[in-house]
């Protein structure tokens, strides 16, 4: 057993590829997701169509450009120019004021402001429109002098992530994806490699029990994945200031549970694949994509069609992300996610049992 684990470590440390995957990837991913991928909108060029150029329209335009989200993208004069400017791709949104804006406003009419956005990127378009809409509404509220007009003013507070930083949302996701990737892919590949090279045959003929082989394979990866989880947390805390509001100990315990789950999945994959390529492909398609797409990491599960929602309940990452978010951002304890934890435990047991059974004592 001990020798087996030492041997596994030697394999890992001598292979540059696996070292890069193990230690380079987490750092790269955290930095990439933290810096490059962002749901926030900044410095987007916005064009203005303003035939009236009065006090109010000028004030609105100024407020918009002062917000930090938008940059002036020029003044347009006709609707044909609007289309042209979208086609050129420079402007993402155009704000169109109606004629005689201030005059009609003072007369008590409702002059219109039209927000036209380039929805070839729907998420950005949505954000732009809602940002701009907010700015205009806030300003128009200030203009309403009559106090007898009842205005419902919603006051919003964003709990758990007051600044709406997207990195808060990504860190739990990245931890999940990376633990899944490193644990499951690396074990499945390393077991498949023994099969491919023929050393598995020798191991099976030896007095080692299948359980020992599996445990010996898995042990180093448990340790390395755990170190990985720690380094991601440290990195996201120091570089991006993502807090761990709940118990760090609980978070680490849950991470170990998830690592075990991913490893047992990896072993399961390796029992059904005979070489490294198959193992790699299977882990990519069976684990990576669903982890990213169906776990609620990027796309909310609630917005998926029902069949996909049901399917996503089978994805271990979905539950783990909920747990991580609860601990890190909400600071809640086990009482709030014992159900998710239980699901993960059950899944782990199922995969371990399935793979020890499938693990072929007889090479057929």
């Amino acid at each position: 057993m001990k020798r087996f684990i030492i041997k596994e470590f030697l394999h890992i440390f001598r292979d540059i590829r696996s070292m890069v995957i193990l230690f380079g990837m987490p750092v790269a991913q955290v930095l990439l997701f933290g810096f490059a991928i962002s749901n926030e909108v900044r410095d987007v060029h916005v064009a203005i169509v303003d035939p009236s150029h009065d006090v109010i329209t000028n004030a609105i335009v100024q407020k918009m450009f002062a917000s930090g989200y938008f940059l002036p993208g020029g003044e347009l004069s006709s609707s044909s120019e609007i289309e042209e400017s979208f086609r050129q791709g420079k402007n993402k949104m155009v704000v169109v004021f109606s004629n005689d804006f201030a005059t009609r406003f003072q007369r008590g009419e409702k002059p219109s402001v039209q927000l036209i956005a380039d929805a070839s990127d729907p998420n950005t378009a949505n954000l732009l429109v809602s940002y701009a809409g907010n700015i205009i509404q806030n300003y128009s509220r200030q203009l309403i002098i009559a106090p007898n007009v009842p205005v419902v003013n919603p006051e919003t507070r964003m709990l758990y992530n007051p600044a709406l930083k997207s990195v808060y949302m990504f860190v739990p996701g990245i931890i999940t994806v990376l633990l899944m990737l490193v644990s499951a892919m690396m074990t499945s590949i390393s077991i498949a490699r023994e099969k491919e090279l023929g050393t598995m045959e020798v191991l099976l003929v030896s007095p080692l029990k299948p359980f020992h082989i599996v445990a010996g394979k898995v042990m180093p990866y448990v340790l390395l994945s755990f170190i990985n989880a720690l380094s991601i947390l440290a990195l996201s805390y120091t570089v991006f200031g993502v807090p761990v509001n709940g118990s760090l100990l609980l978070l680490l315990a849950e991470s170990i549970l998830f690592i075990l789950l991913a490893l047992s999945l990896g072993i399961f994959i390796s029992t059904i694949s005979n070489n490294q390529q198959t193992a790699m492909m299977l882990s990519m398609f069976a684990l990576m994509l669903p982890t990213i797409l169906l776990s609620g990491f990027i796309f909310p599960v609630e917005n998926m069609p029902l069949p996909l929602q049901i399917f996503s309940t089978l994805m271990p990452p979905r539950w783990f992300i909920i747990i991580v978010k609860s601990i890190m951002l909400k600071g809640t304890g086990i009482a709030y996610f014992w159900k998710e934890t239980l699901i993960l435990i059950v899944m782990t047991i199922v995969f371990i049992v399935a793979s020890v059974k499938k693990f072929k004592i007889r090479l057929s």
């Binding site: 001990k2 087996f4 394999h11 023929g198 050393t199 045959e201 020798v202 003929v205 004592i361 090479l363």
Partner: protein, 252 residues
Amino acid sequence: MTTTELADRPVIMAENLVKRFGSFVANDHLNFNVEKGEIFGFLGANGAGKTTAIRILCGLSKPTSGKIMVAGYDVYTQTEKIKKHIGYMSQRFSLYEDLTIAENFRFYGGIYEMRPQNIKQVTAEMLSKLEISNLANTIIASLPLGIRQKLAFSVAIMHRPEIVFLDEPTGGVDPITRRQFWEMIYEAAASGITVFVTTHYMDEAEYCDRVSIMVDGRIEALDTPANLRKTYNAAGMNEVFLMLARKAKNTD
């Protein structure tokens, strides 16, 4: 375990070994005994059922019926004990290429529960016999195939098994190395290790004490190479093999 009390008993006994996969009969009533210290050649064309039989003898697969004892243990119930008393070298290279020679010895010695001092001593002896003591800390991948193959054999017998199974051990090896390899096999047999070897090289078949030739899951012939040549009135084992193997219906 010493085999003094079993010395007069065959090391491998197979009576009416049958293995079926569905309706396909891979091993059809095999009967053979292998004596202690013997070099037993197990020949047959591809698909004749050699590998299936070896798997059963190594405890990797259960026979459908028949009485089979290996190293004095029953293959149905005592596979764990069998595994401790056999060594195995597969046709595929079985050392870890990214580990050094010494690390491979340490690992395989470790899984056979040898003591670290014992491993060290055996490793030193075996390397000095191969005259490569200076290479102990060299990565396997950088060694020539001949040395690797000899190392794989050394590793397979480092825990002093009663029987060592060699599944086409000399595939892809040059004639000189094969010659040296067989010298190692003789040495092992002389020290009391029974050698059970499959091969496609008929000159190697001549080196065996006894040879069995499988055709379509049955043992068609079993005798010393000299007797086989006499029986089939052939000049060499090659001729004997061709005569028998041509009758086969199952070939790859």
